[in-house]
């Protein structure tokens, strides 16, 4: 479904070359929910932007459903971390969600249907006419998620979407993602710095090293598919996985790298 092959990204700036990503390889199957974790400075956002087609890699590439990615592909939607800045403040919630759909060929009726369904799916059926800045942070991020969902993407990319949101809201939004993922059967790539979140959400967790980034480990999360905040997080297996990933990240912070990179 989605393959990242030998991805490399070097920034040229003022005489210095900064190698953000050295060699990233992984595959994501159809319908999987994969999380990416790493220490700060690991180039997580850079990686996501390369996958999303917003940034051109220096070497290697991204293949989506058999096609090479050269610019933002139509089958992909992104949810950004800065929810306050990712919604158009001069448009209502409804118009924000509807805007990307206007680019796709469809009847007005179908578009309205998608918008209503998406907003209902994120529990915001009553704020169609509000402006984003009238809503709380959590609600704004839901609107951004609704916008992505209404777009009917095959792959949903999420760049630390809940980092700037309070803990209670974050828990609700995490559950929302799992619900949507199950319902829409969409492939999700979820970048986060929160280890607990990555274990709670993902079927797999990719651990990134410090820059120049490579994938340190691909951890399979063998927790049951039915997850709740209370129960899942108190499972012993949860603790083990969490501890393992945490120690790997500590190693990464100290500069440890897989042999040969």
């Amino acid at each position: 479904m989605l393959e990242v092959k030998q991805l490399r990204k070097v920034y040229d700036g003022a005489g210095r070359a900064v190698e953000a990503i050295r060699d990233v390889n992984f595959k994501v199957g159809q319908g999987e929910l994969v999380c990416i974790v790493g220490p700060s400075g690991a180039g997580k956002t850079t990686l996501l932007k390369c996958i999303a087609g917003l940034l051109a890699p220096t070497a290697g590439g991204v293949i989506l459903e058999g096609n090479a990615v050269h610019g933002p592909p139509p089958a992909m939607a992104v949810v950004f971390q800065e929810y306050g800045r990712s919604l158009f403040p001069w448009m209502t919630v409804h118009d924000n969600v509807a805007l990307p759909l206007k680019q796709k060929r469809m009847t007005a009726g179908r578009r309205e249907e998608l918008v209503s369904n998406a907003l209902a799916a994120v529990d915001l059926a009553n704020v169609h006419g509000a402006y984003p800045w009238q809503l709380s942070g959590g609600m704004q991020q839901r609107v951004a998620i609704a916008r992505a969902v209404a777009y009917e993407p095959h792959v949903l990319l999420m760049d630390e979407p809940f980092a700037a949101v309070d803990a209670q809201t974050r828990a609700d939004l995490e559950d929302l993602i799992r619900v949507l993922w199950h319902k829409l059967e969409v492939t999700v790539l979820f970048v986060t710095h929160d280890i607990d979140e990555s274990v709670y959400l993902g079927q797999r967790v990719l651990i990134m090293s410090h820059a120049p980034t490579v994938i340190m480990e691909d951890v399979a999360i063998d927790l049951p598919d039915e997850r709740t905040q209370l129960e899942t997080r108190s499972l012993p297996r949860f603790g083990e996985l969490r501890k393992h990933i945490y120690s790997q990240i500590q190693l990464a912070k100290q500069g440890w790298r897989p042999p040969g990179t």
Binding site: Y11, D12, G13, A14, G15, V18, A20, S40, G43, K44, T45, T46, L55, Q81, E82, Y83, G84, R85, L87, P89, P132, W133, G137, E160, A164
Partner: protein, 294 residues
């Protein structure tokens, strides 16, 4: 490119339309320098050269009659000749004198009156409507009055210049005084700080950034009105030279003077901006608000 703001207080500001969130994105790529190899100043220079070339070629190929627009080279020749004539420098000095005097007067008046009004809530509320009424009145409306009272003397120009520049300073100073921390003010008062000490240690530092913006705006406006008055009222200065050379048909010389006014304007703008940056560089409170700013 800096843009003056007059709708909201011209605070040193970040982006307009930026929503709630940190200005710098985590994981954003480092800003690169000469990305494509051609430095900015070189591009700018080529723009200027291109502009001069257009001015040279258009009259020569007859697209516009050279009688209305002489070629750039002819204008340059006229300019250099003028630079060596006494008439030019007298006119230049006249304009600069009117500008400087008018600017100083409006700065002094605007600052003092601004501090007085700004420090008192009562005065501020009472004068608000008057200020908002008087401010939009174009100072050129006073031209006939100025002519009647002072003819073509310096005072006519000063009336126009001061009237226009004063408001720029006043508005900025009012915003500045408004910004003074009320707790600090109460503390100062409870320590028995006299009026002068309060102004010096409390009001002046807070107000300084705003005043600098006011200086920049007032300097530009003062120059415009000085030259306007010279054109419209015929007081001595660069503006009068322009209208006289136009009337006399000395077109190349007229354009030479036009270019000079432009250059003077650029120097005033750049100078004011540099001054503003310099003063604010060491100023402790640089507010980074999202608002209309540079």
């Amino acid at each position: 490119m800096a843009a003056e703001a007059t709708i909201a207080p011209a605070k040193i500001g970040a982006k307009i339309g930026a929503g709630i969130g940190a200005p710098a994105r985590p994981g954003a790529p480092p800003k690169s320098g000469a990305r494509t190899g051609v430095p900015a100043w070189l591009r700018g220079l080529s723009g200027l050269i291109g502009f001069a070339l257009i001015l040279e070629i258009v009259p020569r190929i007859g697209l516009v009659s050279p009688h209305y627009l002489p070629p750039f080279s002819a204008i340059m020749v006229a300019l250099f000749r003028e630079l060596m004539s006494a008439t030019f420098w007298t006119a230049f000095a006249d304009t600069m004198r009117a500008w400087a005097l008018g600017l100083v007067i409006s700065l002094a008046a605007g600052t003092v009156i601004g501090i007085v009004i700004g420090s008192s809530n009562l005065l501020r509320t009472l004068t608000y409507s008057t200020i908002e009424f008087l401010r939009p009145i174009p100072s050129v409306a006073l031209i006939p009055l100025a002519v009647l009272l002072f003819g073509t003397q310096l005072e006519s120009t000063l009336i126009l210049v001061v009237y226009a520049a004063f408001w720029q300073v006043l508005i900025q100073v009012l915003y500045g005084v408004h910004d003074v921390d009320p707790v600090a003010r109460e503390t100062a008062r409870s320590y028995g700080l006299g009026t002068f000490a309060q102004v010096r240690y409390l009001i002046w530092p807070t107000m300084l950034p705003y005043l600098m913006t006011g200086v920049r705006l007032a300097a530009a406006v003062a120059l415009i009105l000085a030259i306007t008055s010279e054109i419209a009222i015929d007081t001595e200065g660069l503006g009068r030279e322009i209208s006289q050379t136009e009337a006399g048909g000395a077109v190349a010389i007229m354009y030479a003077y036009v270019i000079v006014t432009g250059i003077v304007g650029v120097i005033v703008n750049l100078g004011a901006r540099a001054l503003e940056r310099r003063v604010l560089f060491w100023h402790p409170s640089m507010r980074l608000d999202a608002g209309s700013g540079r």
